[in-house]
Symmetry: C2
Subunit: 399 residues, 2 copies
Amino acid sequence: MPASPIRKLVPFAEAAKAKGKKVHHLNIGQPDIETPAVVLDKMRNLDRKVIEYSNSEGFMSYRMGLAKYYKDNGIQLNVEDIMITTGGSEALIFGFQTCLNPGDELIIPEPFYANYNGFAVMSGVKIVPVTATIDDGFALPPVEAFEAMITPKTKGILICNPGNPTGYLYSQAELEKLRDIVLKHDLYLFADEVYREFCYDGAKPFSVMNLAGIDNNVILVDSVSKRYSMCGARIGALISRNKEVMAAALKFGQARLSPPTFGQLASEAALNTPAEYFTAVTAEYVHRRDVLVDGLNAIPGVVCPKPSGAFYCIAELPVDNAERFCQWMLEEFDFNGQTVMMAPAAGFYATPGAGANQVRLAYVLEIAALKNAVECLKVALTVYPGKLEIVSENSANHS
Amino acid sequence: MPASPIRKLVPFAEAAKAKGKKVHHLNIGQPDIETPAVVLDKMRNLDRKVIEYSNSEGFMSYRMGLAKYYKDNGIQLNVEDIMITTGGSEALIFGFQTCLNPGDELIIPEPFYANYNGFAVMSGVKIVPVTATIDDGFALPPVEAFEAMITPKTKGILICNPGNPTGYLYSQAELEKLRDIVLKHDLYLFADEVYREFCYDGAKPFSVMNLAGIDNNVILVDSVSKRYSMCGARIGALISRNKEVMAAALKFGQARLSPPTFGQLASEAALNTPAEYFTAVTAEYVHRRDVLVDGLNAIPGVVCPKPSGAFYCIAELPVDNAERFCQWMLEEFDFNGQTVMMAPAAGFYATPGAGANQVRLAYVLEIAALKNAVECLKVALTVYPGKLEIVSENSANHS
C-alpha cells in the first residue's frame, strides 16, 4: 500500500520543530473547533455499568435519531437504510467489499482523498481517475471524460461532495449528469458527504440520496468526525436504499461485531447539537477561508479557486515541484522562526505527474495563525531556489 | 460471507420471547460482569474539549501502558511491537491482510471462533481445519494432523488460547510443538489470546510471545473486550516483534486513520484495574463453570469436557442434530415458562458434518440463571422427539 503524501513530510516537520521552528499545520484535516458541549456532557454523565457491544448495525436509538437528522436535512430514509460504522472509513470499506469484486474498476474524479487508495487496495479494486482541473475550479469533469474511462470492468463512481481536497461543491445539475451515467451503465454511485454541514455563501448541498431513479445504485458514506469535530469518536454510517447491499454489508458488520459503543453514545448526543453551534462554526470557516484563499491569491503567481464547502483548498504555486517546495519549507526556510506545512497535491491524484505544482491546504487554524502562514508562504515564494518566473496577469484569473 | 450459526436462531429466540418465554442466553459471549469502576470514572471525568484522532498506531501513553501490562504478565515487548486496533477483530484483519495473500491457506484447529471465517473471506484466505476432538477434551491435534494439511500455499496457523469456543488452555508443551511446525515450514503463527485473564484451577497461560526462536513468525492478537468486560470499547492490539509486519500493518492502520479515542482513554484507564477485580471475576467464572459443566455432565448422555479457561464450553448432546434441537428448544419447548438458547457447534467447525450433535455454551449468566438453564436442558432432553438412545456408561467419561 502506498505511503500517504502527507506522511512523507512528517519527519521533516519533526526536525523543524526540534530546531525550534513554529510550524503552522495546514496539512491535516483535524479541526481545532471544540466538540459540542452536549457530547462531552453525555460522556461525563455516563449512566452505564457494562460497556457492551451494540448491534452490528448500531444502536437502534441512534439509527432512529440519524433518520430524523437526514429528514431534517431533506433526505427521506428508513432506519433499515442506515448502518452505523466505525468511521466513514469503514463505511467505504464495507461499501467496496459489498459492491465490488477484486479486479473491478472504480472511477473517481481526481484530485481525491488519498485514503481512498488504501480502501481500494484492501478490496482489490482498481481506481481509474478522471481529472478535474484547477482552471475549472475543480468542477465535475465533462460526461465524455467519464464515458471514455468506462470499460466492462467499471462497477462504480465515487465522489466526495463537498470535496476533500478541493472544497468544490457539486451542483444538482452536475449530480444529475452523474446520475445519467450511472443509470446508462448500471454502476454504483458512492458518495462521501461527510462535509455536508460545511457549505458557504448560501450554497446548499444536494445529496445523491435525492437523485431520482437510482435508489438501488446509490451508496452514501457519512461520518460524525468533521460535523461535530469529533474525529476520534470513529463513528460513520453506510447508507443505501438497496436492500441487498445493506444485507450483504451487515455480514461484514457482523464479522467485526459492532461499532464503538462510547462513540455511538457521543454521536447520538451530538444529534442535539444546537443550530447556533453550526452557525458559529460556519462563520468561523468562512472567515478562515477568506483569509487563507484571498491571501493566497494575492501572492504573485499563486492560483487558488475559492471553495464553497469543506475546509480545504488546492492552490497552484509558482514552483518547480510542490513536494520539493513543501520539504524545503520545513527543512530550509523560516520567517521570524515560523514556517508552514502543506500537503503536496500530487498525492491526491492517481495520474502520474498530475498536480505536481499544487498543494492542499486545510484552514483548520485560527485566523491569526492563518495570516502568519500566508505571510510565511509569500516570503518563501520570493526566496525558494526552485521558484518559477511569474507571468503577472495569471494571478487573478481564478480567485 | 456465511451467516453466523448463532444468528440463524435469533428470529426463533425473538418469537419465543414474544410468546412470553424466559430465554436463558447461553449462546453469546457478552459478559454481564461490570466494567471496572476506574474505566467508568475516567469517562465521567473526561477532560478533553476536542475528541481528536489519535495516532494511527494508537496513543503513545496507552501503548507504553500496555507494554508495562505485558511485562507484568511475563511478556517483554517494546512499544514499537504494539499497534492499537479497533477491537481484536481489526487486529486479525490487519494481521491477515499484512501476512497473507489471496489464495493462501491458514490452518486452524477446529472448532474455532466462527468470525475467523469472515476475516478470512475479507482477505481471500482459505481456512484449512485440523480437527480437535471432544474425546481429547479439545487438546491440540497431533503434529501429524497439521503436517498432513500443509501445502505450498500454507502460510500460517491460527490458534485461540484459552480457546473460544472450547475453553481449552494449550500447555507450553503443546505450544512448543506448534513452534516446531512453524519453524520447519516457515509459517506465521497467529495467536488470539484475548481470554488470557480467564484461566482457572491455578492454570497459567503461556503466551506465544514467549516461544523462543520464532520472533519473526508470531503475531499476537489481543483485546480489552472480555478482560475488562468492555466489548463495546472496540479496542484491541496487533502485536509482533517482526518489524516488517508492523510497518506493513501500520499502512492499513493509516488508511482507517485511528482507533477510537474514547475507547483508548477507557482502555488506558483500565490498566489500573485493581487485582481484586480479577480475583473476584475469576472466582465468579469458576463457580459458574462448575455449576454449568458439572450440571451438564450429570445429565444422562451429555458429555462436556471441563474447560481451564475463557468462559465457554462445548457439550455433546444425545440428540439427532444440535441445530434442530436448539431451534426446537426455542420454538416448541419450555419448562416453567423458561428455555435456553445455545449456539449449535457445527458453525464452529469448517469440516462439513463435524460437531453436528454439539453445542457451545457461554457461562456469562448468574448462578441462579445457570441452574435454571441446566434444569431446562435436562427436562428438554427427556422429551425432545429427536433424542438418542443413551448408553449409560458414556456419560461420566469426560467430565
